[in-house]
Symmetry: C2
Subunit: 233 residues, 2 copies
DNA sequence: TGTAAACTAGACACTATTGTCTAAAACGTC
DNA sequence: GACGTTTTAGACAATAGTGTCTAGTTTACA
Protein backbone atom coordinates (compact mmCIF):
# COMPACT_ATOMS: atom_id res chain seq x y z
CA UNK A 1 0.00 0.00 0.00
CA UNK A 2 3.04 2.26 -0.31
CA UNK A 3 2.45 5.37 -2.26
CA UNK A 4 4.63 5.44 -5.31
CA UNK A 5 6.04 8.76 -4.17
CA UNK A 6 7.73 7.59 -0.98
CA UNK A 7 10.37 5.44 -2.55
CA UNK A 8 11.51 2.99 0.10
CA UNK A 9 15.03 3.20 1.43
CA UNK A 10 16.06 -0.06 -0.18
CA UNK A 11 16.80 0.58 -3.83
CA UNK A 12 13.56 0.27 -5.72
CA UNK A 13 13.68 2.38 -8.77
CA UNK A 14 16.12 3.70 -11.24
CA UNK A 15 19.13 4.22 -9.05
CA UNK A 16 20.47 0.68 -9.01
CA UNK A 17 21.36 -1.26 -12.13
CA UNK A 18 17.91 -1.29 -13.62
CA UNK A 19 17.53 -4.81 -14.92
CA UNK A 20 18.10 -6.54 -11.64
CA UNK A 21 16.55 -4.13 -9.21
CA UNK A 22 13.15 -4.41 -10.85
CA UNK A 23 13.20 -8.17 -10.46
CA UNK A 24 14.19 -7.82 -6.83
CA UNK A 25 11.54 -5.32 -5.94
CA UNK A 26 8.95 -7.42 -7.73
CA UNK A 27 10.01 -10.51 -5.80
CA UNK A 28 9.97 -8.60 -2.52
CA UNK A 29 6.59 -7.06 -3.11
CA UNK A 30 5.12 -10.32 -4.36
CA UNK A 31 6.40 -12.13 -1.28
CA UNK A 32 4.67 -9.61 0.95
CA UNK A 33 1.40 -9.69 -0.92
CA UNK A 34 1.30 -13.47 -1.33
CA UNK A 35 2.07 -13.82 2.35
CA UNK A 36 -0.61 -11.34 3.32
CA UNK A 37 -3.35 -12.42 0.93
CA UNK A 38 -2.52 -15.96 -0.09
CA UNK A 39 -2.11 -17.02 -3.71
CA UNK A 40 -5.68 -16.48 -4.91
CA UNK A 41 -6.21 -13.40 -2.80
CA UNK A 42 -3.17 -11.64 -4.21
CA UNK A 43 -3.68 -9.57 -7.33
CA UNK A 44 -1.00 -8.67 -9.83
CA UNK A 45 -2.06 -5.03 -9.69
CA UNK A 46 -1.52 -4.91 -5.95
CA UNK A 47 1.92 -6.42 -6.35
CA UNK A 48 2.74 -3.96 -9.12
CA UNK A 49 1.78 -0.99 -6.95
CA UNK A 50 3.73 -2.32 -3.97
CA UNK A 51 6.75 -2.93 -6.17
CA UNK A 52 6.47 0.54 -7.74
CA UNK A 53 6.41 -1.12 -11.13
CA UNK A 54 3.92 -1.29 -13.95
CA UNK A 55 1.82 -4.40 -14.26
CA UNK A 56 3.20 -5.13 -17.68
CA UNK A 57 6.71 -5.29 -16.31
CA UNK A 58 5.68 -8.13 -14.07
CA UNK A 59 4.24 -10.00 -17.02
CA UNK A 60 7.43 -9.32 -18.96
CA UNK A 61 9.61 -10.88 -16.29
CA UNK A 62 7.34 -13.67 -15.13
CA UNK A 63 4.98 -15.00 -17.75
CA UNK A 64 1.98 -15.48 -15.45
CA UNK A 65 0.89 -15.35 -11.86
CA UNK A 66 1.83 -18.92 -11.09
CA UNK A 67 5.32 -18.47 -12.51
CA UNK A 68 5.79 -15.45 -10.30
CA UNK A 69 4.57 -17.40 -7.30
CA UNK A 70 6.99 -20.26 -7.79
CA UNK A 71 9.83 -17.79 -8.39
CA UNK A 72 8.99 -16.06 -5.12
CA UNK A 73 8.83 -19.31 -3.19
CA UNK A 74 12.13 -20.51 -4.58
CA UNK A 75 13.75 -17.19 -3.84
CA UNK A 76 12.59 -17.19 -0.24
CA UNK A 77 13.52 -20.84 0.20
CA UNK A 78 17.04 -20.25 -1.04
CA UNK A 79 17.52 -17.30 1.28
CA UNK A 80 16.02 -19.12 4.24
CA UNK A 81 18.16 -22.20 3.69
CA UNK A 82 21.34 -20.18 3.37
CA UNK A 83 20.53 -18.35 6.58
CA UNK A 84 19.65 -21.58 8.33
CA UNK A 85 22.96 -23.23 7.56
CA UNK A 86 24.90 -20.13 8.44
CA UNK A 87 23.22 -20.18 11.85
CA UNK A 88 23.77 -23.90 12.28
CA UNK A 89 27.46 -23.21 11.79
CA UNK A 90 27.45 -21.24 15.03
CA UNK A 91 26.37 -24.20 17.12
CA UNK A 92 28.50 -24.32 20.30
CA UNK A 93 31.29 -26.86 20.19
CA UNK A 94 32.65 -26.63 23.68
CA UNK A 95 30.78 -27.89 26.67
CA UNK A 96 31.59 -25.43 29.43
CA UNK A 97 28.82 -22.94 29.92
CA UNK A 98 26.61 -25.16 27.83
CA UNK A 99 23.35 -23.67 29.05
CA UNK A 100 24.33 -20.13 28.08
CA UNK A 101 25.82 -21.19 24.77
CA UNK A 102 22.80 -23.25 23.79
CA UNK A 103 20.48 -20.45 24.81
CA UNK A 104 22.35 -17.94 22.69
CA UNK A 105 22.26 -20.38 19.79
CA UNK A 106 18.52 -20.85 20.19
CA UNK A 107 18.01 -17.10 20.15
CA UNK A 108 20.04 -16.76 16.97
CA UNK A 109 18.03 -19.55 15.40
CA UNK A 110 14.63 -18.13 16.24
CA UNK A 111 15.53 -14.55 15.46
CA UNK A 112 17.11 -15.22 12.08
CA UNK A 113 15.33 -18.29 10.80
CA UNK A 114 12.11 -19.19 12.52
CA UNK A 115 10.62 -15.82 13.39
CA UNK A 116 11.88 -13.55 10.65
CA UNK A 117 9.97 -12.50 7.57
CA UNK A 118 11.08 -15.48 5.48
CA UNK A 119 10.21 -17.94 8.21
CA UNK A 120 6.76 -16.46 8.55
CA UNK A 121 6.30 -16.50 4.78
CA UNK A 122 7.27 -20.15 4.46
CA UNK A 123 5.14 -21.23 7.39
CA UNK A 124 2.08 -19.49 6.01
CA UNK A 125 2.59 -20.53 2.44
CA UNK A 126 3.45 -24.16 3.11
CA UNK A 127 0.39 -24.38 5.28
CA UNK A 128 -2.01 -22.75 2.84
CA UNK A 129 -0.60 -23.74 -0.55
CA UNK A 130 1.46 -26.80 0.32
CA UNK A 131 -1.22 -29.25 -0.72
CA UNK A 132 -1.84 -27.47 -3.97
CA UNK A 133 1.83 -27.29 -4.95
CA UNK A 134 3.39 -30.39 -3.45
CA UNK A 135 6.31 -30.39 -5.88
CA UNK A 136 7.09 -26.77 -5.15
CA UNK A 137 7.60 -27.22 -1.44
CA UNK A 138 9.20 -30.63 -1.71
CA UNK A 139 12.61 -28.98 -1.84
CA UNK A 140 11.85 -27.10 1.34
CA UNK A 141 10.60 -30.26 2.97
CA UNK A 142 13.82 -32.02 2.07
CA UNK A 143 16.38 -29.30 2.70
CA UNK A 144 14.54 -27.23 5.26
CA UNK A 145 12.98 -28.90 8.28
CA UNK A 146 13.87 -32.30 6.93
CA UNK A 147 17.57 -31.66 7.01
CA UNK A 148 17.66 -29.34 9.96
CA UNK A 149 16.88 -32.11 12.45
CA UNK A 150 19.58 -34.30 10.97
CA UNK A 151 22.12 -31.50 10.88
CA UNK A 152 21.26 -30.38 14.38
CA UNK A 153 21.27 -33.99 15.51
CA UNK A 154 24.83 -34.36 14.29
CA UNK A 155 25.83 -31.28 16.24
CA UNK A 156 24.26 -32.69 19.38
CA UNK A 157 26.13 -35.92 18.74
CA UNK A 158 29.38 -33.98 18.79
CA UNK A 159 28.46 -32.43 22.13
CA UNK A 160 27.51 -35.87 23.33
CA UNK A 161 30.86 -37.25 22.32
CA UNK A 162 32.54 -34.53 24.32
CA UNK A 163 30.68 -35.83 27.33
CA UNK A 164 28.37 -32.91 27.88
CA UNK A 165 25.11 -34.61 26.99
CA UNK A 166 23.55 -38.02 27.22
CA UNK A 167 21.36 -38.66 24.23
CA UNK A 168 20.01 -41.90 22.85
CA UNK A 169 18.49 -40.67 19.60
CA UNK A 170 20.19 -37.58 18.21
CA UNK A 171 17.61 -36.71 15.58
CA UNK A 172 14.82 -37.05 18.07
CA UNK A 173 16.67 -34.80 20.51
CA UNK A 174 17.12 -32.25 17.75
CA UNK A 175 13.42 -32.29 16.91
CA UNK A 176 12.57 -31.91 20.56
CA UNK A 177 15.04 -29.08 20.98
CA UNK A 178 13.34 -27.22 18.14
CA UNK A 179 9.91 -28.02 19.51
CA UNK A 180 10.84 -26.75 22.95
CA UNK A 181 12.24 -23.55 21.51
CA UNK A 182 8.97 -23.03 19.70
CA UNK A 183 6.79 -23.90 22.69
CA UNK A 184 6.48 -20.33 23.90
CA UNK A 185 6.55 -18.73 20.47
CA UNK A 186 3.87 -20.62 18.57
CA UNK A 187 0.98 -18.60 19.93
CA UNK A 188 2.74 -15.42 18.89
CA UNK A 189 3.86 -16.45 15.43
CA UNK A 190 0.58 -18.18 14.66
CA UNK A 191 -1.06 -14.77 14.51
CA UNK A 192 1.64 -13.29 12.37
CA UNK A 193 3.16 -11.22 15.14
CA UNK A 194 6.89 -10.98 15.64
CA UNK A 195 8.15 -11.87 19.12
CA UNK A 196 10.09 -9.24 21.01
CA UNK A 197 13.70 -9.83 22.00
CA UNK A 198 12.57 -10.47 25.56
CA UNK A 199 10.12 -13.11 24.37
CA UNK A 200 12.77 -14.76 22.24
CA UNK A 201 15.20 -14.83 25.12
CA UNK A 202 12.69 -16.14 27.61
CA UNK A 203 11.56 -18.84 25.19
CA UNK A 204 15.12 -19.91 24.53
CA UNK A 205 16.02 -19.98 28.21
CA UNK A 206 12.97 -22.05 29.12
CA UNK A 207 13.61 -24.45 26.28
CA UNK A 208 17.29 -25.00 26.98
CA UNK A 209 16.70 -25.36 30.69
CA UNK A 210 14.19 -28.16 30.19
CA UNK A 211 16.22 -29.72 27.40
CA UNK A 212 19.22 -29.97 29.68
CA UNK A 213 17.11 -31.34 32.52
CA UNK A 214 16.23 -34.15 30.15
CA UNK A 215 19.51 -34.68 28.36
CA UNK A 216 22.38 -33.30 30.44
CA UNK A 217 24.80 -35.90 31.72
CA UNK A 218 24.70 -35.80 35.52
CA UNK A 219 27.84 -34.21 36.92
CA UNK A 220 30.17 -36.97 38.12
CA UNK A 221 28.34 -40.08 37.08
CA UNK A 222 29.02 -42.28 34.12
CA UNK A 223 25.99 -44.53 34.28
CA UNK A 224 23.03 -42.52 35.37
CA UNK A 225 19.30 -42.01 35.36
CA UNK A 226 17.48 -44.66 33.34
CA UNK A 227 19.61 -44.39 30.26
CA UNK A 228 18.73 -47.90 29.17
CA UNK A 229 15.14 -47.19 28.26
CA UNK A 230 16.14 -47.46 24.62
CA UNK A 231 14.23 -44.58 23.19
CA UNK A 232 12.34 -44.66 19.97
CA UNK A 233 11.74 -47.28 17.39
CA UNK B 1 -17.03 -32.77 -5.62
CA UNK B 2 -19.62 -35.34 -4.57
CA UNK B 3 -22.17 -36.20 -7.15
CA UNK B 4 -25.59 -35.33 -5.92
CA UNK B 5 -26.66 -38.92 -6.56
CA UNK B 6 -24.44 -40.62 -4.02
CA UNK B 7 -25.99 -39.11 -0.94
CA UNK B 8 -23.44 -39.38 1.83
CA UNK B 9 -24.15 -41.60 4.77
CA UNK B 10 -24.56 -38.70 7.15
CA UNK B 11 -27.98 -37.18 6.62
CA UNK B 12 -27.68 -34.59 3.91
CA UNK B 13 -30.96 -34.26 2.16
CA UNK B 14 -34.58 -34.60 2.85
CA UNK B 15 -34.59 -37.42 5.35
CA UNK B 16 -33.71 -35.45 8.48
CA UNK B 17 -35.71 -32.50 9.70
CA UNK B 18 -35.13 -30.34 6.69
CA UNK B 19 -34.49 -26.96 8.20
CA UNK B 20 -31.47 -28.01 10.18
CA UNK B 21 -29.88 -30.56 7.91
CA UNK B 22 -29.33 -28.01 5.15
CA UNK B 23 -27.52 -25.70 7.53
CA UNK B 24 -25.35 -28.56 8.70
CA UNK B 25 -24.42 -29.77 5.26
CA UNK B 26 -23.67 -26.19 4.20
CA UNK B 27 -21.43 -25.68 7.23
CA UNK B 28 -19.65 -28.96 6.59
CA UNK B 29 -19.10 -28.31 2.92
CA UNK B 30 -18.05 -24.73 3.55
CA UNK B 31 -15.54 -25.86 6.16
CA UNK B 32 -13.99 -28.25 3.67
CA UNK B 33 -13.83 -25.75 0.86
CA UNK B 34 -12.56 -22.87 3.01
CA UNK B 35 -9.95 -25.17 4.45
CA UNK B 36 -8.90 -26.40 1.03
CA UNK B 37 -8.98 -23.09 -0.86
CA UNK B 38 -8.76 -20.37 1.76
CA UNK B 39 -11.32 -17.60 2.08
CA UNK B 40 -10.77 -15.82 -1.22
CA UNK B 41 -10.09 -19.02 -3.13
CA UNK B 42 -13.36 -20.58 -2.07
CA UNK B 43 -16.37 -19.91 -4.27
CA UNK B 44 -19.97 -20.07 -3.15
CA UNK B 45 -20.82 -22.21 -6.15
CA UNK B 46 -18.23 -24.78 -5.17
CA UNK B 47 -19.61 -24.89 -1.64
CA UNK B 48 -23.14 -25.23 -2.96
CA UNK B 49 -22.22 -28.19 -5.14
CA UNK B 50 -20.31 -29.88 -2.33
CA UNK B 51 -23.24 -29.34 0.04
CA UNK B 52 -25.74 -30.64 -2.53
CA UNK B 53 -27.65 -27.40 -2.16
CA UNK B 54 -28.57 -24.57 -4.47
CA UNK B 55 -26.53 -21.43 -4.27
CA UNK B 56 -29.56 -19.39 -3.35
CA UNK B 57 -30.12 -21.52 -0.27
CA UNK B 58 -26.72 -20.52 1.02
CA UNK B 59 -27.57 -16.86 0.53
CA UNK B 60 -30.87 -17.43 2.29
CA UNK B 61 -29.22 -18.85 5.39
CA UNK B 62 -26.08 -16.73 5.46
CA UNK B 63 -26.44 -13.30 3.98
CA UNK B 64 -23.04 -13.16 2.34
CA UNK B 65 -19.76 -15.02 2.00
CA UNK B 66 -18.18 -13.41 5.03
CA UNK B 67 -21.16 -14.26 7.25
CA UNK B 68 -20.89 -17.85 6.16
CA UNK B 69 -17.20 -17.84 6.90
CA UNK B 70 -17.59 -16.57 10.43
CA UNK B 71 -20.41 -19.04 11.05
CA UNK B 72 -18.17 -21.87 9.90
CA UNK B 73 -15.28 -20.75 12.06
CA UNK B 74 -17.48 -20.41 15.13
CA UNK B 75 -19.02 -23.80 14.49
CA UNK B 76 -15.67 -25.52 14.21
CA UNK B 77 -14.32 -23.64 17.22
CA UNK B 78 -17.23 -24.72 19.39
CA UNK B 79 -16.84 -28.34 18.37
CA UNK B 80 -13.09 -28.27 18.82
CA UNK B 81 -13.32 -26.68 22.24
CA UNK B 82 -15.92 -29.17 23.45
CA UNK B 83 -13.74 -32.03 22.28
CA UNK B 84 -10.68 -30.49 23.84
CA UNK B 85 -12.21 -30.21 27.28
CA UNK B 86 -13.71 -33.67 27.10
CA UNK B 87 -10.24 -35.02 26.41
CA UNK B 88 -8.68 -32.92 29.15
CA UNK B 89 -11.12 -34.58 31.53
CA UNK B 90 -9.39 -37.89 30.89
CA UNK B 91 -6.05 -36.68 32.21
CA UNK B 92 -4.56 -39.35 34.50
CA UNK B 93 -4.99 -38.61 38.17
CA UNK B 94 -3.02 -41.43 39.71
CA UNK B 95 0.70 -41.61 39.53
CA UNK B 96 1.49 -45.30 39.20
CA UNK B 97 2.25 -46.22 35.62
CA UNK B 98 2.55 -42.54 34.85
CA UNK B 99 4.49 -43.00 31.63
CA UNK B 100 1.86 -45.26 30.10
CA UNK B 101 -1.03 -43.12 31.31
CA UNK B 102 0.48 -39.90 30.03
CA UNK B 103 1.29 -41.53 26.71
CA UNK B 104 -2.27 -42.74 26.28
CA UNK B 105 -3.51 -39.28 27.16
CA UNK B 106 -1.20 -37.69 24.62
CA UNK B 107 -2.48 -40.06 21.96
CA UNK B 108 -6.07 -39.19 22.76
CA UNK B 109 -5.21 -35.52 22.61
CA UNK B 110 -3.48 -35.65 19.25
CA UNK B 111 -5.95 -38.02 17.65
CA UNK B 112 -9.08 -36.15 18.69
CA UNK B 113 -7.98 -32.53 18.94
CA UNK B 114 -4.73 -31.67 17.26
CA UNK B 115 -4.68 -33.93 14.22
CA UNK B 116 -8.33 -34.35 13.36
CA UNK B 117 -10.23 -32.43 10.70
CA UNK B 118 -11.19 -29.57 13.00
CA UNK B 119 -7.67 -29.18 14.28
CA UNK B 120 -6.34 -29.01 10.76
CA UNK B 121 -9.00 -26.50 9.78
CA UNK B 122 -8.25 -24.20 12.68
CA UNK B 123 -4.52 -24.37 12.18
CA UNK B 124 -4.82 -23.52 8.52
CA UNK B 125 -7.42 -20.82 8.92
CA UNK B 126 -5.85 -19.09 11.91
CA UNK B 127 -2.60 -19.01 10.03
CA UNK B 128 -4.00 -17.70 6.74
CA UNK B 129 -6.90 -15.51 7.87
CA UNK B 130 -6.01 -14.76 11.47
CA UNK B 131 -4.51 -11.39 10.68
CA UNK B 132 -7.46 -10.38 8.55
CA UNK B 133 -10.07 -11.39 11.15
CA UNK B 134 -8.41 -10.79 14.50
CA UNK B 135 -11.73 -10.47 16.33
CA UNK B 136 -12.97 -13.73 14.89
CA UNK B 137 -10.15 -15.86 16.18
CA UNK B 138 -9.76 -13.99 19.42
CA UNK B 139 -12.20 -16.40 21.06
CA UNK B 140 -10.11 -19.32 19.89
CA UNK B 141 -6.98 -17.65 21.11
CA UNK B 142 -8.51 -17.18 24.52
CA UNK B 143 -10.38 -20.44 24.95
CA UNK B 144 -8.36 -22.67 22.70
CA UNK B 145 -4.59 -22.75 23.01
CA UNK B 146 -4.67 -19.95 25.52
CA UNK B 147 -6.68 -21.90 28.05
CA UNK B 148 -5.34 -25.32 27.23
CA UNK B 149 -1.94 -24.58 28.73
CA UNK B 150 -3.53 -23.27 31.89
CA UNK B 151 -5.94 -26.16 32.19
CA UNK B 152 -3.25 -28.69 31.45
CA UNK B 153 -0.96 -26.88 33.84
CA UNK B 154 -3.47 -27.31 36.62
CA UNK B 155 -3.66 -31.02 35.89
CA UNK B 156 0.11 -31.30 36.07
CA UNK B 157 -0.03 -29.43 39.36
CA UNK B 158 -2.31 -32.11 40.72
CA UNK B 159 0.12 -34.82 39.68
CA UNK B 160 2.88 -32.79 41.21
CA UNK B 161 1.03 -32.55 44.48
CA UNK B 162 0.68 -36.30 44.50
CA UNK B 163 4.42 -36.50 44.35
CA UNK B 164 4.81 -37.91 40.89
CA UNK B 165 6.39 -34.91 39.25
CA UNK B 166 8.69 -32.07 40.12
CA UNK B 167 7.68 -28.94 38.26
CA UNK B 168 8.53 -25.32 38.93
CA UNK B 169 6.25 -23.61 36.42
CA UNK B 170 3.12 -25.60 35.64
CA UNK B 171 1.96 -23.59 32.65
CA UNK B 172 5.39 -23.75 31.10
CA UNK B 173 5.51 -27.49 31.65
CA UNK B 174 2.13 -27.78 29.97
CA UNK B 175 3.27 -25.79 26.95
CA UNK B 176 6.38 -27.90 26.72
CA UNK B 177 4.38 -31.10 27.01
CA UNK B 178 2.26 -30.00 24.08
CA UNK B 179 5.30 -28.90 22.12
CA UNK B 180 7.02 -32.22 22.68
CA UNK B 181 3.94 -34.13 21.59
CA UNK B 182 3.91 -32.09 18.42
CA UNK B 183 7.62 -32.41 17.77
CA UNK B 184 7.31 -35.50 15.57
CA UNK B 185 3.97 -34.56 14.06
CA UNK B 186 4.55 -31.05 12.76
CA UNK B 187 6.19 -32.11 9.54
CA UNK B 188 3.25 -34.38 8.82
CA UNK B 189 0.44 -32.02 9.70
CA UNK B 190 2.12 -29.06 8.04
CA UNK B 191 1.44 -30.64 4.67
CA UNK B 192 -2.14 -31.48 5.52
CA UNK B 193 -1.53 -35.16 5.94
CA UNK B 194 -3.04 -37.13 8.80
CA UNK B 195 -0.60 -39.12 10.93
CA UNK B 196 -1.11 -42.85 11.20
CA UNK B 197 -1.85 -44.48 14.54
CA UNK B 198 1.71 -45.72 14.67
CA UNK B 199 3.03 -42.22 14.15
CA UNK B 200 0.74 -40.85 16.84
CA UNK B 201 1.84 -43.51 19.27
CA UNK B 202 5.51 -43.10 18.53
CA UNK B 203 5.26 -39.32 18.85
CA UNK B 204 3.45 -39.62 22.17
CA UNK B 205 5.92 -42.14 23.54
CA UNK B 206 8.91 -40.03 22.59
CA UNK B 207 7.36 -36.92 24.04
CA UNK B 208 6.34 -38.43 27.36
CA UNK B 209 9.65 -40.18 27.76
CA UNK B 210 11.59 -36.95 27.41
CA UNK B 211 9.07 -34.98 29.44
CA UNK B 212 9.49 -37.39 32.33
CA UNK B 213 13.27 -37.30 32.00
CA UNK B 214 12.98 -33.59 32.60
CA UNK B 215 10.21 -33.46 35.16
CA UNK B 216 9.88 -36.80 36.93
CA UNK B 217 10.77 -36.75 40.60
CA UNK B 218 13.74 -39.07 41.11
CA UNK B 219 12.69 -42.26 42.86
CA UNK B 220 13.67 -41.98 46.50
CA UNK B 221 15.00 -38.47 46.72
CA UNK B 222 13.29 -35.39 48.05
CA UNK B 223 15.82 -32.81 46.98
CA UNK B 224 17.25 -33.73 43.66
CA UNK B 225 18.87 -32.63 40.44
CA UNK B 226 19.25 -28.88 40.14
CA UNK B 227 15.72 -28.05 41.18
CA UNK B 228 16.73 -24.65 42.46
CA UNK B 229 17.49 -23.11 39.11
CA UNK B 230 14.31 -21.07 39.46
CA UNK B 231 12.82 -21.49 36.06
CA UNK B 232 11.17 -18.74 34.12
CA UNK B 233 10.75 -15.10 34.76
C1' DT C 1 -55.42 -32.20 0.52
C1' DG C 2 -54.20 -27.43 1.11
C1' DT C 3 -51.16 -23.80 2.65
C1' DA C 4 -46.97 -21.63 3.97
C1' DA C 5 -42.38 -22.09 4.07
C1' DA C 6 -38.19 -23.68 2.15
C1' DC C 7 -35.76 -24.84 -1.82
C1' DT C 8 -34.21 -24.83 -6.78
C1' DA C 9 -32.55 -23.35 -11.33
C1' DG C 10 -31.52 -19.92 -14.09
C1' DA C 11 -30.95 -15.29 -15.67
C1' DC C 12 -29.01 -11.07 -14.43
C1' DA C 13 -26.04 -6.83 -13.34
C1' DC C 14 -21.87 -5.70 -11.38
C1' DT C 15 -17.23 -5.98 -10.14
C1' DA C 16 -12.61 -7.80 -10.03
C1' DT C 17 -8.93 -10.13 -12.16
C1' DT C 18 -6.02 -12.18 -15.58
C1' DG C 19 -3.35 -11.76 -19.49
C1' DT C 20 -2.64 -9.34 -24.19
C1' DC C 21 -1.72 -5.56 -27.04
C1' DT C 22 -0.06 -0.98 -28.43
C1' DA C 23 2.06 3.40 -28.65
C1' DA C 24 4.70 6.44 -26.13
C1' DA C 25 8.21 7.43 -22.79
C1' DA C 26 12.52 6.59 -20.18
C1' DC C 27 16.77 4.50 -19.95
C1' DG C 28 21.61 2.74 -20.80
C1' DT C 29 25.29 2.60 -23.87
C1' DC C 30 28.18 3.59 -27.42
C1' DG D 1 22.98 12.52 -29.89
C1' DA D 2 21.33 7.95 -31.93
C1' DC D 3 20.06 3.25 -31.13
C1' DG D 4 17.99 -0.63 -28.95
C1' DT D 5 16.05 -2.21 -24.81
C1' DT D 6 13.18 -1.75 -20.94
C1' DT D 7 9.42 0.30 -18.89
C1' DT D 8 4.99 2.53 -18.68
C1' DA D 9 -0.01 3.66 -18.96
C1' DG D 10 -3.99 2.52 -20.75
C1' DA D 11 -7.34 0.10 -23.43
C1' DC D 12 -9.01 -4.38 -24.20
C1' DA D 13 -11.32 -9.16 -24.26
C1' DA D 14 -12.24 -13.02 -21.56
C1' DT D 15 -13.35 -15.12 -17.50
C1' DA D 16 -14.97 -15.90 -12.86
C1' DG D 17 -17.15 -14.59 -8.86
C1' DT D 18 -20.68 -12.10 -5.84
C1' DG D 19 -25.09 -11.09 -4.71
C1' DT D 20 -30.07 -10.17 -6.43
C1' DC D 21 -34.26 -11.41 -8.50
C1' DT D 22 -37.94 -14.32 -10.18
C1' DA D 23 -40.80 -18.01 -11.25
C1' DG D 24 -41.55 -22.63 -10.46
C1' DT D 25 -40.98 -26.79 -7.53
C1' DT D 26 -40.66 -29.41 -3.41
C1' DT D 27 -41.29 -30.02 1.32
C1' DA D 28 -43.35 -29.90 6.08
C1' DC D 29 -47.29 -29.95 8.52
C1' DA D 30 -51.96 -29.62 9.77
Amino acid sequence: MKNRDDLPIKATGHTQRGQCSKRISILDAAANVFCREGFSGASIDEIAVEACVSRQTIYNHYREKETLFTAVVEDVMDRANAMLYSILATFPDKSDNLEDDLTAFAIRLTKNCLCNQDGKFLRKLVQSEGERYPHLFEAWRQHGPGKISTALGALFARLCYKGALQIDDFDLAARQFLALVNADLQMITLFGETPTSEQLESAARNAVHTFLRAYAKPAGETTSRTPTLAAVS
